[in-house]
Amino acid sequence: MMRRLNILKWSVYTLCILLLTVFQMQAAFYPSYMGMTPLFVIPAVISIAMFEGETAGGIYGILAGLVWDCGTGRAFGFNALFLMCIGITIGLLIKFVFRNTVLSIFLFTLIFTVIHEFVTWFFFYYMIDNHDILFAIYHIIIPTTVLTLIFALPLYLGARVINRRLTVYDNPDLPS
């Protein structure tokens, strides 16, 4: 029973991550602000890492990143590497430094979305002759971050529901 529940949980996470990554590329499903749309994958990987730890965070980061990389046409592996690092970092931070709260998901999403957008701008736009940092900040980084933050809470709550419903602990006193 416990094994079945575990398989079900990881399958649900896998399906959710795949769907979110694919839907991230479809503008009709969510609002756009100043032509920008949210990044579902970053808060989703953060949420999984917060509830399931650094290993699951890293694995789902790689999975989501590879799918995401296929759609961007840029250096293949960039998003996979970035999301893997996010997953592992968040898992460790939650284990040793931060508490797993709603405030944490907002803080992590804010920080890592901004970092992702800056790194993207630097490597794929600044380095190919597009040096306009103000344009990047006002037209891309801020709108994308704001929209991503809006979706951070539902994704966090979704991961919490999956974790609580489908996790069986040997020791019931362990935090979820």
Binding site: L18, L19, V22, F23, Q24, M25, Q26, A27, A28, F29, M34, G35, M36, T37, P38, L39, E54, T55, G58, I62, L66, V67, W68, D69, C70, G71, T72, G73, R74, A75, F76, G77, F78, A80, L81, M84, C85, I88, L92, F96, H116, E117, T120, F124, Y125, I128, D129, N130, D132, F135, A136, H139, I140, T144
Partner: protein, 295 residues
């Protein structure tokens, strides 16, 4: 934390990170040519992308219909008037066409066909981090698509293929600063090169640069491809001039243009996989379309 960094898990993640880094470097070095891993993942996820694109289109179409019902009615009225007007123009057109055929016969002009071959494709994804309206289509190298193939609609040019994979391809649009096309202003015959920029792309515009200072180009003029260079076929509609601005150097003027096809909303496209002037120019033209060899 130390326990984690000393564990087997960490070592596996470190190996994966090295592999991913290697993949990144290989893709970057290949200049937009896809790797095997990219092809495999692309093949696996393309059915999901196509399915979600269909659902997305249906949802957005439904929402648009509900929201724009009143504007659609007024638009319908306007279009009806326009049809009446165009029908009267058709009579003149037929006369002119007949006259043109006669004159062509007189001066012995032979119309050159450029033997284009097309691959029809559907837009299946638009990433939030794909700036300048770039998108992914559901056809790739298996359909004969290659890097730098022009992407068009029935109305005109949209962009070029920058990263063809097995079953999907990433397209950079004419708004992208790395995409350039040699163009001619159809009314005046002035030539220039298209170039995108961050500021212009925010308004969905690009510019036709290096126009002669004495050019008589004006708002409303249509620009088309020159066909030189072998990347784009001749006479593809590209944009409509919105504004004329002097170049910073003072030696030329730049025409700010709106694309004929809005790249942010295009759904179905054609990829020109071959045409005669492309064959004639061979591989020498691949560096002309993108200034940086793809993103």
């Amino acid at each position: 934390v130390r326990e984690f960094f000393g564990s087997v898990k960490f070592k596996i993640f470190a190996v994966i990170a090295c592999l991913l880094l290697g993949l990144m470097i290989r893709t970057a070095a290949a200049g937009g040519i896809s790797t095997i891993t990219q092809d495999v993942v692309g093949v696996v996820i393309s059915p999901f992308q196509t399915a979600s694109a269909h659902i997305s289109d249906a949802v957005s179409g439904l929402i648009d219909n509900v929201i724009n019902l009143s504007s659609l009615q007024s638009q319908n009225e306007q279009l009806k008037k326009q049809i009446t007007h165009l029908e009267s123009q058709m009579v003149d057109y037929d006369d002119v066409k007949r006259e043109n055929e006669q004159l062509k016969g007189l001066v012995d002009i032979t119309q050159e066909s450029d033997n284009r071959t097309y691959a029809t494709a559907m837009v299946i994804s638009r990433g939030p981090d794909q700036w300048f309206s770039s998108f992914t289509i559901d056809k790739g190298t298996l359909s004969g698509i290659q890097k730098n193939d022009p992407v068009i609609t029935a109305d005109g040019l949209v962009g070029i293929v920058v990263n063809p994979m097995l079953t999907t391809s990433v397209v950079s649009t004419i708004l992208d600063p790395s995409v350039h096309a040699g163009c001619i202003v159809s009314r005046t015959g002035d030539t220039g090169i298209t170039q995108g920029s961050s500021e212009l792309s925010a308004n969905g515009e690009f510019e036709l640069a290096y126009l002669s200072k004495n050019s008589s180009v004006t708002t409303g003029d249509i620009i088309v491809t020159t066909g030189q260079g072998g990347i784009y076929p001749k006479d593809l509609n590209v944009g409509i001039v919105q504004d004329i601005q002097p170049d910073i150097s003072g030696n030329s003027v730049n025409a700010v243009c709106k694309p004929i096809v809005d790249p942010s909303s295009v759904k179905d496209v054609f990829v020109i996989t071959n045409f005669s002037s492309k064959q004639a120019n061979g591989g020498t033209s691949s560096s002309a379309a993108t200034s940086s060899g793809g993103k």
